[in-house]
């Protein structure tokens, strides 16, 4: 009879062969949603879900926001807090929380977008050089680790180091319990670069002739000379997805009777039902196809955002 409580408070210390541990960081994904148990029965299925979730609207709960591949990583974890006694005893009092400083490549536009996540509490998934995706579980759902991010960059380069086009961000993990004691991984074989970020595309009324409205589709950016118009790239393909558009006027449904791409104005030419249009008043809301619908129509990498404007 041993006088011990170990049977109920600790685990055995054996180890399986080829036990996994975290490798070098390759990519980080901001993911505030969750993957249900049925959707991660193998690594490929998990990757497919992340690919699918990356194509969701940014307002969707399961949206995945990929961050470019890491080019540099420094462990900036807080050191454990230690205490001593007068006769020489020293022990860890408080465990320091994990943190990293990571560098990725990205321009001024991307930096602006990433900085919108600064100091917000988000969840992140890690993808490492051993092709494993690391996260935690809440119940049976696979989720990211709670963390805070802070992005900086777009400073003048000094010519002494690789600085131009480098975005630096700090990753501060909130919970050691999640990060160490409840970390789970899945190895994936597919191409992690299939999990792609989308670009916001703002729509705006340019002009109209009665119920025929010219709607621009532009990616906002840092160029003083103007935003990037996606019309020449995707205008015709977007018009072909007319069935997935909808509109309201003053809160009431308004039928769209035709849509085409106007290559002269580089706009989407939307024709509303003339009767509803002339009888309606107030705000017009034009709702575009979802990113998944756009993707299925070969309009890839973008999310069209709904536009609201007063009836001209």
């Amino acid at each position: 009879m041993s006088l011990s409580l170990c049977a109920s408070s600790v685990a055995n210390t054996g180890e399986l062969a080829c036990d996994k541990s975290r490798g070098v960081l390759r990519k980080l994904f901001i993911f505030n949603g969750s993957v249900a148990e049925a959707d991660y029965t193998d690594g490929d299925e998990l990757l497919a879900k992340l690919v699918e979730y990356a194509k969701l609207s940014k307002s969707a709960a399961n949206k995945v926001f990929p961050i470019n591949e890491a080019q540099d990583i420094v462990d900036s974890s807080e050191a454990n807090k230690e205490g001593t006694l007068g006769l020489g005893f020293k022990a860890v009092l408080i465990e320091g929380k994990p943190g990293y400083t990571v560098k990725v490549f990205g321009g001024a536009d991307l930096l602006k977008r990433l900085r919108q996540f600064n100091n917000q509490t988000v969840r992140v998934l890690e993808y490492d050089a051993n092709t494993a995706i690391w996260g935690t579980k809440v119940g049976t759902a696979f989720k990211g680790f709670q963390a805070k991010l802070f992005f900086t960059g777009n400073k003048l380069a000094t010519g002494q180091n690789v600085e131009e086009g480098v975005i630096t961000f700090s990753l501060s993990i909130l919970s050691t319990s999640e990060y160490f004691d409840n970390a789970y991984y899945a190895e994936v074989d597919g191409n992690i670069e299939d999990v792609v970020g989308l670009l916001d595309v703002n729509m705006a009324l340019v002009s109209n002739a009665s119920n025929v409205h010219q709607i621009s589709m532009k990616i906002p950016g840092s160029s003083l000379l103007g935003d990037y118009n996606i019309g020449t790239d995707f205008g015709t393909a977007i018009a072909a997805l007319a069935a997935s558009f909808s509109a309201t006027i003053g809160g009431a449904a308004m039928t769209i009777t035709s849509i085409t791409y106007n290559s002269t104005l580089q706009t989407l030419e939307v024709t509303y039902n003339s009767g509803t249009y002339s009888g309606g008043s107030g705000t017009i809301v034009l709702n575009p196809p979802t990113p998944a619908q756009l993707d299925a129509g070969d309009v890839t990498g973008v999310e069209l955002l709904s536009v609201s404007y007063a009836k001209p």
Partner: protein
């Protein structure tokens, strides 16, 4: 929304066929006049809308002008 699922793409223009199918041709011609389609093209689109050439309704047909 189900009405908007039935569209015809003709010469790069997506027409809401379901909306016009039970309507009059005059309404269609008036409302879509700004596309400046030829008379023959208008007739062809109208035939597609009415389902007389249903098999071609999903193809991006070129206007014969």
């Amino acid at each position: 929304m189900s009405e908007q699922k039935d569209w015809i793409v003709f010469n790069g223009i997506a027409f809401n066929a379901a909306h016009y199918r039970k309507g009059k041709k005059e309404e269609f011609v008036s409302e879509q006049a700004h596309h400046k389609l030829s008379k023959e093209a208008v007739n062809e689109v109208w035939n597609l809308i009415k389902g007389e050439e249903k098999k071609s309704s999903t193809e991006d047909k070129k206007a014969d002008v």
